[in-house]
Amino acid sequence: MDDSGHSPAPPARRNFLIKTAALLVGGVITVVAPVAGLITFLDPLRRKAGARGLVRVATIGSLPSNGEPKKLPVLDTLVDAWNRTENVPVGSVYIQKTGKATVRVLNAVCPHLGCSVGINAAKNGFACPCHKSSFALDGKIADPKSPSPRGMDELEAEVKANGEIWVKFQNFRKGTANKIPV
């Protein structure tokens, strides 16, 4: 590159103070905007999923008596950033009748990587269409070759005296052997 018209390279004895000051002030003014932006950008780190209480999902009378699982949406308050919406689907569950007044409730999402699990064709268990994990009716891993590290996530549920089924809906971290709530 042609240097004509430019002053010669600075002399060997440099004004150390001016350079330090220029770097210092320059550094200070440069970090303000990126730091301000990053702090707001990292806001999601402090937001935890709000713990849900028990919500009514179905009545025990509406379930097949042979224990076949039934997929049902869970309706609850959905908080999405600034929006708060009452009584909308926040997820879905499989409910099976396991006794006269007992049920098993499974989160319908695969614990592997979060795909939506379906009932397998033979109806004797569940299958995830994404990575072919298969689960037994009780949610345990059916095929040892399944990529899922754990069985389907069972949820706390309560059958009231009037037959209403109330479920504590929760999501868990995906891809881990243990159930860790998110």
């Binding site: 600075p10 004004n15 002030v25 320059g26 905007a33 932006g37 707001t40 600034w82």
Partner: protein
């Protein structure tokens, strides 16, 4: 080893020459403070790009989410208020820095040959930056930005021929909505910054091609850009940044008005302060002359600015340019001052601005409880605290008062009151005043109505003056008992505490010979006089306002009060909001 690897990189990229080129640009006559403006503009433009990108990650451009997402940034996200404030106040600072930069260029004659093209690229950058301000002002979709943008885009429509079409294209239709936001956002965050970057490259390329135009006389020997000028530039940036940070803390970020509502009158709309001079200027061009002030004159002035390099060839021309610049700046300053002074002395503007602040605060209070999908404006439209006074002012204040004013705090002619002042309606104080024959016929109650010659007034005048002190006490308790029917929030505690006294008062109300029910209906007792069951309660008030001429209330004795519900002047929701507001019953945010 280090030497080797830097050489390796340099052979492949040529970065050393580039760094040298960047840092050792010759500054003829040595570093000067007056050369800092260009660098500060580049620096603050980068700040805007960075803060803008981070804001982008949380912003959602649509009619139901723009205000909401900005509210969320400002009030809920970590340091969001600071980030917004930085973006907002740096934008304002840049406008001032642009003027300084332009002044320095003109004063130093740096627009003269061979730097004309560079000057023009600078004028384009100036216009692009103003376009950024204009588009950015709308994005929060608050009342202020919405109405100010409505004005500025209507100015576009004034242009002959293509005006209407241009406006429709800019706002994405005939009305302001989703596509106004998506378009403004794309312009603000994509098109205009892209164009600015391009022109900055062009501008700096020309600048480097011709070098710094030294301010004469030179103060010393030529030096390189680094480090002397860099230090000056950095210190100037720091100084501006400190001022900006002062304003961010002073205003806790950037202002955010109430959510935009095309149906809600907003009389406090003003452009950003640096456009106030244009706003004031337009006042001198009424009616069809508006196009002269809004479009023709500004374009002529721009033409003079663009032609400056030609004039500058002659000594006299340069002086003209200096004079023109000084006149423009003095004129804009004067107009800005006039605009501000006019607003300061305008009670209507002051009241509107105050109401706007209240609405903004209320919107945040409501939004903190969670916003429905329909957006924050739906919260404001259904809020008794916000709508009650407006409904009252529009429909009731022709006859009634609220604490002497029209509900919104507006003054009304003193002699225009012709029905009761409704502040505290249903409260103990209000009913006590009502049951006193003297104050009942005062202008605060029935003084201006035909009812002042009616049965209620004559009954009170006949009986009350002869009451013994004990009877007067019982009447007082009757007022409390009637007030308890209203279930007012503010009296809940007192009603519980005074239940024994209220029972005495209730006995008087129920006394069918000497008490209220000698004329009035009360629960199971039916008479011709107005129904006192649940007097002042929400349901009673809604029924009453809906149809005061109903036989349950005034019947044929109703004096001029319209049947707001029966005639469908007010909806059921509006009846409820005005009743709630008069009863002092509205959403209050739970204390944290």
């Amino acid at each position: 080893m280090k030497q080797e690897s830097t050489n390796w990189l340099d052979q492949r990229t040529g970065y050393k020459a580039l760094v040298h080129e960047a840092l050792f640009e010759n500054v003829p006559g040595g570093a000067r403070w007056r050369y800092v403006w260009g660098s500060t503009l580049v620096f603050f433009f980068s700040v805007q790009v960075i803060t803008g990108l981070f804001l982008w990650m949380a912003y959602s451009p649509s009619s139901q989410t723009a205000w909401e997402s900005v509210y969320f940034i400002q009030n809920q996200m970590w340091g969001g208020w600071f980030l917004r404030g930085l973006h907002h106040f740096v934008a304002q600072a840049m406008t001032i820095l642009l003027v300084f930069h332009l002044m320095q260029v003109i004063i130093d004659g740096a627009y003269r040959a061979p730097r004309e093209v560079n000057f023009w690229s600078g004028v384009i950058l100036l216009l692009l930056t103003l376009a950024l301000s204009l588009t950015g002002y709308l994005l929060p979709w608050d009342q202020e930005g919405f109405w100010a943008t409505a004005v500025s885009t209507n100015i576009i429509a004034l242009s002959p021929g293509v005006g209407q079409a241009a406006q429709a294209v800019v706002i994405g239709g005939t009305d302001y909505g989703h596509h106004t936001l998506t378009r403004f956002f794309a312009l603000h965050a994509g098109v205009i910054p892209g164009a600015i970057m391009l022109f900055i490259v062009v501008h700096i390329y020309f600048f480097r091609r011709h070098g710094v135009k030294p301010a004469e006389p030179k103060k010393g020997a030529d030096v390189g850009f680094w480090p002397d000028q860099v230090l000056r530039d950095a210190v100037a940036c720091l100084a501006v940044l400190l001022v900006v940070i002062f304003f961010i803390f002073r205003y806790h970020g950037a202002p955010l008005g109430a959510p935009a509502d095309p149906a809600e009158q907003y009389s406090a709309a003003r452009p950003e302060w640096y456009f106030l001079f244009l706003f004031q200027f337009l006042k001198y061009f009424p009616g069809s002359a508006e196009i002269v002030g809004a479009i023709i004159v500004p374009m002529l002035l721009m033409a003079v600015l663009v032609a400056m390099p030609y004039f500058g060839r002659w000594k006299l021309g340069h002086r003209f340019n200096l004079g023109f610049m000084a006149t423009m700046i003095a004129g804009a300053t004067l107009l800005t001052y006039l605009a501000m002074r006019a607003d300061r002395n305008d009670p209507d503007y002051i009241a509107s601005a105050k109401a706007a602040d209240q609405d903004a605060e209320r919107a945040v209070e409501l939004a903190n409880g969670g916003i429905p999908i329909a957006g924050a404006v739906s919260l404001m439209r259904a809020d008794a605290y916000t709508q009650g006074p407006r409904i009252f002012s529009r429909n009731c204040s022709a006859c009634h008062r609220y604490d002497g004013h029209d509900g919104l705090g507006g003054e009304l002619p003193k002699d225009s009151i012709s029905a009761s002042d409704l502040k505290g309606f249903g409260s103990r104080e209000w009913i006590t005043r009502f049951l006193n024959p003297d104050s009942l016929v005062s202008p605060k109650h029935w003084g201006g109505t035909a009812l002042k010659d009616g049965d209620m007034v004559s009954w009170l005048t006949e009986h009350v003056p002869d009451y013994t002190p004990e009877q007067k006490q019982v009447l007082q308790y009757a007022a409390w008992a009637l007030s308890a029917e209203s279930g007012l929030k503010s009296q809940r505690e007192a009603d519980g505490r005074d239940s024994a006294k209220i029972a005495i008062g209730l006995a008087f109300i129920r006394d069918t010979t000497k008490g209220c029910t000698s004329c009035h209906t009360f629960h199971e007792r039916k008479k011709d006089g107005p129904d006192l069951t649940g007097y002042g309660s929400r349901a009673w008030m809604m029924d009453f306002i809906s149809d005061p001429a109903h036989e349950r209330f005034f019947g044929d004795n109703n004096d001029r009060m319209p049947s707001f519900g029966k005639e469908k002047t007010l909806t059921l929701q509006e009846l409820g909001m005005v009743a709630d507001w008069l009863r002092g019953d509205w959403y209050v945010a739970p204390k944290k």
